[in-house]
Symmetry: C2
Subunit: 398 residues, 2 copies
């Protein structure tokens, strides 16, 4: 009989957001008249900007006549989009070659599928708490994970320990779920550590568009040495509200090479290219047309206006919690507000308490790792009205 990948059986039974959905459904069945406010999953609510909308329509129009029809596109993405992304980086004074850009259907796919190019025998360093996909996909591959504590003491920004060796390092900045964002010096420390350990950094910058503090790096390539040790994953989900449209991109510098024990030079770019050409057939032409519009001056202005709306929500949430003397992280340079549960409550208990008494859905910190046990995440992606209403309810409850 087929032998299955038994590493799957080491995964936790259910994904965090399924458990949340389960509890919310049970509550609303019992309480059909209560109005629930959902500030749990990091999903956007504002519609796409008009520039993106018009370019998506144009993409479809091209498929409606034989003269302009597009069939299979390049697995790595169309040049028009790769160049638009290169140009976006150049605005932050970062120089990327088009062949270093891989367009995909989202950062979740790429951060998951990247595990394909690595062997099983690696020491993987993952911060705790963090986006569960890094942990789950490495468990699926049977790899040895070392966790690094992110907690109140280090402002949820753990720094490398020179006494601990690792081969593959995950960094998410601005962080999901804590909203904590590394500054230049801190990232430089990580790069130095990676270069010293001959390790690779997998850098998730999905929330870079929420950075308002101009001294903070929006890309790891803003720091010297990064091209020799880091892959960067990014997404249009939060930048442009593409959670339902599906488009992301991954940057793999040509300089990112390693020398194997047998003296062969391994190009990470070439390995990912082989992975993608073999197991992926490119992103929908329609979606790529819309994605390119994001990086146009008009498209970007519309995206920024939406981001500003969410940032104002974040401020409302943050101020409301601070007023109650709750210890908060994120909320600035990040769409997430991460805070300590009142009265030393456990995060799932606080989840139930908030749902039962204020009909607000957030995300229990425990879902992101053991250091999240006493913490809670609220997102700024709701509507203004529901955000204000939620904070009013919290104000009355706590």
């Amino acid at each position: 009989m087929p032998k299955f990948n038994e590493n799957f059986f080491d995964l936790k039974e259910s994904y965090l957001f399924s458990e949340i959905a389960h509890r919310v459904n049970a509550y609303s069945e019992k309480n059909p008249n209560k109005k629930i406010i959902r500030l749990g999953i990091g999903d956007v609510t504002l519609p796409l900007g008009s520039k993106v909308i018009s370019q998506l329509h144009e993409g479809i129009d091209a498929l409606a006549s034989a003269e302009t029809f597009k069939g299979y596109g390049p697995e790595q993405g169309y040049d028009f989009l790769r160049l638009a992304i290169v140009d976006y980086y150049s605005r932050n004074n970062i120089s990327i070659n088009p062949c270093e850009v891989f367009v995909s259907d989202g950062a979740k796919s790429d951060t998951g599928n990247i595990t394909d190019i690595f062997g099983r025998d690696n020491i993987v360093l993952i911060p705790d708490p963090v986006y569960p996909v890094y942990v789950d996909t490495n468990i699926m591959s049977g790899r040895n994970i070392i966790y690094i504590d992110a907690n109140e003491e280090n402002n949820f920004l753990p720094m490398p320990d020179d006494n601990v060796h690792s081969d593959i390092i995950y960094i998410c900045s601005p962080n999901n779920p804590t909203g904590a964002t590394y500054n230049r010096d801190q990232l430089k420390n990580w790069i130095d550590y990676a270069l010293e350990n001959n390790a690779i950094i997998l850098y998730d910058s999905a929330y870079e568009c929420f950075i308002t503090d101009e001294t903070l790096p929006r890309s790891i390539y803003a720091i010297e040495g990064a091209k020799k040790c880091a892959i960067e994953f990014c997404s249009l989900s939060k930048t442009a509200g593409f959670t339902g449209v599906r488009c992301g991109y991954t940057i793999i510098p040509e300089d990112l090479t390693f020398l194997s024990s047998s003296g062969i030079k391994i190009s990470v770019n070439a390995m990912w290219n082989r992975r993608q050409t073999t197991k992926f057939n490119g992103v929908s032409y329609i979606v790529q047309k819309g994605a390119a519009a994001v990086f146009s001056p008009e498209g970007m202005a519309q995206c920024k206006s939406n981001i500003k709306y969410y940032q104002e929500n974040a401020k409302i949430i943050l101020n409301g919690l601070l007023k109650k003397n709750i210890s908060c992280f994120g909320g600035v340079n990040s769409p997430y507000i991460w805070f300590k549960c009142p009265n030393n409550m456990d995060s799932w208990d606080f989840f139930d308490y908030l749902l039962d008494n204020a009909q607000i859905v957030g995300t229990p910190g425990a879902g992101f790792g053991k250091n999240g046990q006493k913490f809670f995440r609220i997102t700024s992606f709701g509507t203004r009205d529901s955000t204000i209403e939620a904070m009013k309810r919290i104000d009355e409850l706590i």
Copy 2:
């Protein structure tokens, strides 16, 4: 340093279609005035039907206003599309549950990613010649592959050998590249073999819409016992011209379970669900709207009209080759015509000969396996004019 997946180094250097592109580019640089006819890659040329176009536009319109906006969708696909696919199967008297349908961005992704759920220690049976993705993705996973010869003697429809055990069996019918299609009795033999060996069949039915002979099965589930041993992969690339739109689907019956050595019941559906929810975030809402339109009466009629056009191309190619007494396979119930290279030529030599002397690009059989060494594939996906012109040139040349 990171340990890489060294199985990648066992892959052939370049993917078949890259080598073809390389040779064609070299030729056209030297001969800028020659008009090349491309009948190589299996990519469609006709525009999408108007019903699909209008539904794609509607999908975008929904994203333009907050009231109808769609963010993250279910990783498995929206119910409206899963139900449309269930209904499509029911028209062929096959009963599928919606939870057995997984919508994806294409069959290439799914046939590649399915390897994630299996352990390394499996004996994989793959016909030769065949679509290269099955072989390459299993090499990437370091698995032991047994090839089963498809050749003139068995009409390119190899049957199981009861003396050879295997755990995972790939079947592609109608076959890419040979166009050969299994009948019901033959498929029943494969299912009996799989059940006896406690093996799993990975059945690729991407070309099912080209079957005109009503006695031939369009799905493996048309045959008794299949739900206990087979996964089916299908795609809208050829059914609806979605090569650039990107949508496919995979059926994993709930009955497809295995008992592990330690007595645990393994549900293949649950394992794939875990893989997809962890490493995939669903298909673009826009694309799913267009895909659902494919299965509407009007949408399907438009798709069938396009398929008929390609089928007539296939007839033109087949008749032209038969006139020259060339031994042909496929071309009926398949968009591919697979034929023996004239004068006992090797397939890459014939590729160069046809390019140099008739400016026609086809696909050398050797690219699909050793049994393709003396064979050649031409597709019916060109325009009518270019198909007629190509056959005129072949008529003069051979």
